[in-house]
């Protein structure tokens, strides 16, 4: 039962992720992204990480993709013709893909990915309390740094999008 | 004309929260909710028609049952939308009302054209056409919406006035003939 559900959700998220990349229509891409997120949330549920699943749906599916759609609709992006690949792109993407594959293979073959006994692994994402404790103790610094980065990004957006009174006269 | 500049008072803090006004509005609507309804259950309950209401134009009889209309066709001429069509006719010699001489042979009012202006009633020298209380005219075909003479009298009924102008005139003429003064 659980295995079957895993395959369904995994297939859903991977297929939809491919859909995001290959769809020509920007709105369809965004909706594929939404479905892919739902698939990943399903995988989290199978791992008993309800909180992560719910947060993923709440933040990404509920707000971020809606903002994507908002922007797509506001700017009326309809995809259009694909750009031809230049030699530089082909070269760099081949190198990047090669590095990724090499890295994954070396990790897997050298046994660097530890497969610990599932029973001994602490499920920090399952209960609210464990999750919060991790967030406020072990990962406190990363959380603060990410928050600071987001704040800077937000300020940047405000500065860029704000119309300054003085600049109006220059035009 | 003097220009008065009205000072717009700045809103107080409470007013800017909208809340007191929202509460007042809710109170008003709630009061409205428990009051009895304002509307009528139409086909069963009919509205009271005020005096002088201009409804569907109709033709009337006098208390003796004589058609008051003498087909002078003034209403036909005055009618702005040309809704009235009259075919004048003569009253037969053996009729009791032969002294009136004329009556409409046919009288048609097209209610699809009628604008309920009441000019026909105003212009009628015989007080024969009246806009009465009837306010609801319906029909399935255009023909149904044309009121003919029979229907007009059905709608109109009898006007209870008793000056009997034509009878008095006939009596006066008869008296004059009998007296032979002229």
């Amino acid at each position: 039962m659980s295995d079957l559900l895993f395959h369904i959700f995994a297939l859903l998220s991977v297929a939809c992720a491919l859909g995001v990349v290959f769809n020509k229509n920007a709105v369809a891409s965004a909706l594929c992204f939404l479905l892919s997120l739902v698939g990943v949330a399903g995988l989290f549920v199978l791992l008993d990480a309800f909180l992560l699943a719910v947060l993923l749906v709440l933040v990404y599916a509920g707000a971020v993709v809606a903002l994507f759609l908002f922007i797509i609709m506001l700017l009326d992006m309809q995809g259009g013709d694909r750009k031809r690949f230049t030699k530089a792109t082909i070269l760099s993407s081949t190198v990047a893909a090669g590095l990724l594959v090499t890295g994954l293979v070396s990790f897997a073959s050298h046994g660097l990915v530890e497969t610990a006994d599932p029973a001994t692994v602490k499920v920090v994402g399952s209960s609210l309390r464990a999750y919060a404790e991790q967030l406020f103790t072990v990962y406190l610094l990363p959380v603060q740094i990410v928050g600071f980065l987001l704040l800077i990004a937000m300020l940047g957006v405000i500065v860029l999008s704000k119309k300054f009174e003085g600049l109006e006269d220059v035009k | 004309m003097a220009v008065v500049t009205v000072e717009r008072k700045p809103l107080s803090f409470l007013e800017r929260t909208y809340l007191p006004n929202i509460a007042a509005g809710l109170a008003t609507t709630f009061k409205r909710m428990v009051q009895p309804v304002e509307t009528l259950e139409y086909p069963e309950q009919r509205p009271a028609i005020p005096a002088g209401y201009r409804g569907v134009p109709t033709l009337v009889y006098d208390p003796n049952g004589r058609e008051k209309c003498v087909s002078c066709q003034l209403c036909e001429f005055v009618c702005p939308p040309k809704a009235i069509r009259i075919t004048p006719g003569e009253i037969a010699h053996d009729d009791a009302n032969a002294h009136v001489e004329k009556r409409p042979e046919e009288f048609k009012i097209d209610m699809l054209r009628c604008i309920y202006c009441g000019l026909c009633q105003e212009v009628c020298p015989e007080e024969a056409i009246w806009l009465q209380n009837q306010y609801s005219m319906t029909g399935y075909t255009r023909e149904e919406m044309v009121n003919d003479k029979k229907r007009l009298y059905e709608l109109g009924g009898t006007l209870p006035d008793s000056h009997f102008k034509w009878d008095k005139k006939a009596a006066a003429e008869k008296a004059a003939h009998a007296g032979g003064h002229h």
């Binding site: 709105v27 919060a132 | 709630f30």
Partner: protein, 396 residues
């Protein structure tokens, strides 16, 4: 009496429960449309729909029989119940046009997508409770999970996609504007809504306990003995309740926040191009959101299934059991709890409609100003004040 039910396979049982809840919620949401018409009529001094009466012949004869019961039939007719049935029939059978200029796939997908969050959020809402044999209070809910409220928020936030999709797929300007407004508005008010409920959970999750976001636990913490244990959170956290209520109005697209629809300036907003069954699906979804939203509000701030502040369900059951012994069976207890809860929800549905027929619509910029410049700072300030206060109280 109900042992056979608990012997059914779990999957079948859940399926049955889900079907039952949907079968209750769907007509309830449809009935809200009639309530809306009646309440608007009463506020405007009209009687509202009170004529429709099914005939005693033909396939409507069973309904006609009900209508011809002396007092009840007339009452139902006056309340417009048969009009509701006629509306339902009309929406089902009338021609369902798809305009030529729309994006067909998404145009049809949008109303279906609107039903998914509307009907699935109810799974996480406990709508009653009963005492089991061991004397513990057990919630009546489809899924009693620890992340209850977050799950409702998460699924509820997906509701915006149906509006965006409908607006975009309609491929004409008014629906499009409605869709854009919907996406901006719903995201804006989600923030204040989430922040406004945090003080409640700060209070419920006392230090040392197992952290929870379960709505059942919130109700439990409002039904403790003693003065502070029995108060409802609407009394101790009125600002939170107020912000939550306003955000709820905005999230369910109700007046004075029905920007996506705003028939005065956008014709019909996102559903301008829709008709018949697809249109009615949007409306059932809107009312279902209202029902679930009111339910959440009652659970968080109005003590859920506790009849009065300081009077818990347990007290009520004990008091009633002295008069009627049969009350203490689980079935009756559950029904009483569900009845109290639905009564509160019903009041909120009424309140939603009452507000709708009282207030004019905000302008769009007013909605945005209210959301970002007033409610959000207010909810953050509220959170900080309550966080400090609760920290002081609980560590004393």
């Amino acid at each position: 009496m109900f042992d056979f039910y608990f012997e059914l396979p779990l999957l079948l049982r859940l399926l049955l429960q889900g079907t039952v809840v949907i079968l209750v919620l769907f007509p309830l949401a449809a009935a809200c449309s009639m309530a809306e018409r009646k309440i608007s009529a009463w506020i405007q001094g009209r009687p509202g729909p009170n004529r429709t009466k099914p005939p005693l012949a033909g396939f409507l004869a069973p309904l006609g029989l009900v209508a011809s019961i002396p007092v009840l039939g007339t009452l139902l007719q006056k309340l417009g119940i048969f009009q509701l049935a006629a509306d339902g029939g009309k929406f089902t059978f009338k021609e369902d046009p798809v305009p030529g200029h729309v994006n067909k796939f998404y145009f049809i997908l949008a109303p279906i997508a609107s039903m998914i969050p509307a009907l699935s959020t109810v799974a996480f809402v406990p709508f009653g409770a009963y005492f089991n044999a061991a004397g513990e209070l057990v919630p009546v809910a489809l899924a009693h999970v620890d992340v209850g409220l977050l799950a409702v928020f998460a699924l509820g936030s997906l509701g915006v996609y149906s509006l965006i999709l409908a607006g975009w797929a309609s491929n004409s300007k008014y629906p499009f504007l409605g869709g854009v407004r919907a996406s901006a508005q719903l995201i804006s008010y989600e923030l204040s809504m989430t922040l406004s409920v945090l003080p409640v959970f700060l209070w419920v999750n006392a230090p040392g306990g197992q952290g929870t976001l379960s709505l059942f636990e919130v109700v439990q913490s409002q039904s403790q003995p003693g003065f502070w244990g029995g108060t409802w959170y609407v009394m101790t956290m009125p600002v939170s309740a107020f912000i939550f209520l306003i955000a709820l109005f905005a999230e369910t697209n109700r007046q004075p926040f029905d920007m996506p629809e705003s028939e005065a300036d956008l014709v019909g907003g996102f559903h301008t191009e829709y008709g018949a069954f697809k249109w009615s699906l949007f409306f059932v979804a809107e009312y279902a959101h209202m029902i679930v939203g009111s339910g959440i509000f009652c659970l968080l701030f109005l003590g859920g299934w506790n009849p009065l502040p300081w009077v818990s369900l347990a007290d009520t059951i004990h008091a009633l059991a002295n008069i009627l012994p049969c009350v203490s069976t689980p079935l009756f207890m559950g029904l009483i709890a569900i009845g109290i809860f639905l009564g509160k929800v019903g009041f909120f549905i009424f309140f939603f409609m009452w507000v709708r027929w009282t207030l004019p619509r905000f302008r769009y910029d007013q909605v945005m100003t209210l959301g970002w410049k007033k409610l959000l700072p207010l909810s953050i300030a509220n959170l900080i004040v309550y966080a400090l206060g609760i920290a002081w109280l609980q560590t004393r």
